[in-house]
Symmetry: C2
Subunit: 388 residues, 2 copies
């Protein structure tokens, strides 16, 4: 169940012909009136046209958004003025069909960077999406399918909160996943009652521990966007804590699916950092470990090569004392006080056959973070080495 | 020709038995009296015991150094107090044999992080090295061989400067190569007359454009060290510019060899950045491009995937205007003003079969940098995924 699980949302997906394969490549999530909405976007300095347009629409509308149109197969990034116009045209086509302001429509794109969108295919598809939009579960699933690039499965999630308010969401991932203050494309819906301002706080808290705590390849995208819309149709006004909990659950599920579906990855590794001066420092240390090619190669090999984690921590620029680092692989202490515990590493290798967890204690501070990453595999390199 | 090319240096290499393979794993470079010496070290917060010891010896001796002892097969990093004592014992063993202060000996180690050095094998080897040290070309070559870890060839270089002063050097590389203010292990010798203070300036300038401008895998090492010693035995006192030129030539040759010998790389790619606000900014942008797994995958595939370069630039935190980026692959313009020039990318692929160059213009500033990197290959991942 996805974005149509909460009451008050209609969705659709279709194949507009952007992808040569003929697979689904456009999606729409729409409501019957402008809804309180929050959004976070990539911090990338080369942000794509749809990101820049959606940021502007959030400002103009004051966070009152009628719908989101999305496409895969083309990121509409590094596309100049032609690309800017294409993003506006996508929003305008939807606005015309549903009868709203252009600034009440957000636009998300994902796919290769550089090519221009085939607008002669996309504009008719926008009409089709509005006509087909439905509130059924399958309509939500179709919308989630329209986001997929190299994803191998549809990413959707849904939960109910106290009193029966609902939260649903869809996302896409696959690669170029190293969110910074934002994430890949995701649309989260809820039928809870909440103002746009409250949603901003809820989304920012939920994203920090979910989408902002995953890292597949250290590559921050030009198109990352997460949107949260609230219809209020449940009639329930949950506390900020309750709503954050619901939204975080949906985000966490989608974030984990993104890592599990990393291009050609063979396992998900959880890096649990604690003892840092604060949570931000812990997150930067965990991300530095996940950024390291040599660390992710060792994850691929199921090799408890803890020395590479120490080197990554030392290089990350965070204040640290190498003689205070403890490292535990899947429950077995491997390093204490920055040196080897003496455990025979070959006895740990059998514990590292599937997904596993690495605990890293960097000192005695209160800061913690939980980072999800995938391994770096020969398949990832071959896949991303092929001219597209 | 290597460290023994300049007059006044003796060298040796030997197999102490640190490496299970029985290959050469210890080296020595020594002079007949303490010489003016400069050194730069890794900025890694988890710097290895030999790095911390050598830093201290440079301070105590005021840059008057008799010799350098080096080992491969074990980084002596993350080894606690035992590791600190081992580094001191290596220096002391050499000092005792040659009859100098312990603080006049520098120590370098390279290899896996975590294991302790087998001191019962190393201490007798220190004696042997001093006894065997010679000033022949082959003695220099033996010393260079003793540095090798996963290197596939010996890295040495030598040049003569105006008036006949000489500069020679040796280095090791292979992986965990992302120098920051320093580099991998390298010892550079010269018979020019120069004070330790002058050598510091020369080394810092030479390293910036050579060792600090290469990047194999974005992983900064715990053990990076470059040492420059001057015997003065040529009787020539070159200008700082002449000496820098000679030292830079030797460093550049060693740096390029390090990239060419990157673990399982198939090509060297030169990233030429210009138009940045200053050289430092240009270097950080070039390094960000080389840091990107997706970019280095595209280098492996010979794919002119310029959009990934734009995304890497946007993510690197340097001030930039994405609409000002020009990208040229091997002489063919691919992007101008941040968008595709329209060139058929498949016509460029045949140009990218071997080593190639990518030019990136990021604006109109005076800053430039030239970064050497290798491609990310399935072989690198397999090699570094195997438990060691």
């Amino acid at each position: 169940m996805s974005v149509t699980f909460p009451r008050g949302f209609w969705a659709a997906g279709a194949a507009a012909g952007i992808k040569p394969s003929g697979a689904s490549d456009v999606s729409l999530v729409i409501a019957q009136e402008p809804l309180p909405t929050a959004a976070v976007f990539t911090q990338n300095g080369a942000a794509a046209a749809p990101v820049r347009l959606s940021r502007r629409h959030m400002e103009i509308s004051g966070g009152a958004i009628r719908g989101v149109t999305l496409n895969s197969g083309c990121a509409n990034a590094a596309t100049g003025e032609l690309g800017d116009q294409a993003a506006v045209d996508m929003a305008a086509a939807v606005a015309r069909e549903v009868g709203c302001e252009v600034s009440e429509v957000l636009v998300c794109s994902t796919g290769p960077i550089g090519p221009q969108l085939p607008m002669h295919k996309i504009l008719p598809a926008m009409q089709l999406l509005v006509a087909r939009a439905g509130s059924s579960q399958s309509a939500g699933r179709e919308a989630a399918a329209g986001l997929m690039t190299t994803d191998t499965f549809i990413k959707e999630a849904a939960v109910s909160g106290p009193g029966g308010f609902r939260v649903g969401g869809m996302a896409k991932g696959a690669a170029m996943i190293r969110p910074s203050m934002a994430t890949m494309l995701a649309v989260i819906t809820t039928d809870a009652i909440a103002s746009a301002q409250r949603l901003r706080g809820v989304l920012s808290r939920a994203v920090e521990e979910t989408f902002n705590s995953i890292n597949i390849d250290g590559c921050e995208s030009t198109n990352d966007t997460v949107i949260l819309m609230a219809s209020g149709l449940s009639g329930i006004q949950p506390s900020p804590g309750e709503l954050t909990k619901g939204v975080r659950k949906v985000c966490a599920r989608l974030a984990r699916d993104i890592v599990a579906d990393a291009e050609d990855c063979t396992r998900v590794v959880t890096i649990q950092v604690s003892g840092a001066p604060d949570d931000g420092s812990a997150r930067r240390m965990g991300m530095a470990i996940a950024d390291s090619d040599l660390v992710r190669c060792s994850f691929y090999g199921g090799d408890p090569n803890w020395g590479r984690l120490v080197a990554a921590l030392g290089a990350c620029g965070e204040p640290m004392d190498a003689s205070r680092i403890d490292i535990t692989y899947q429950g077995t202490p491997v390093a204490r006080g920055g040196t080897h515990t003496g455990v025979d590493l070959s006895t740990i290798e059998p514990l590292l056959v599937g997904d596993f967890e690495v605990e890293v204690v960097v000192g005695e501070g209160p800061g913690t973070a939980r980072i999800l990453t995938s391994d770096l595999t020969p398949g990832y390199v071959i896949f991303n080495g092929e001219p597209s």
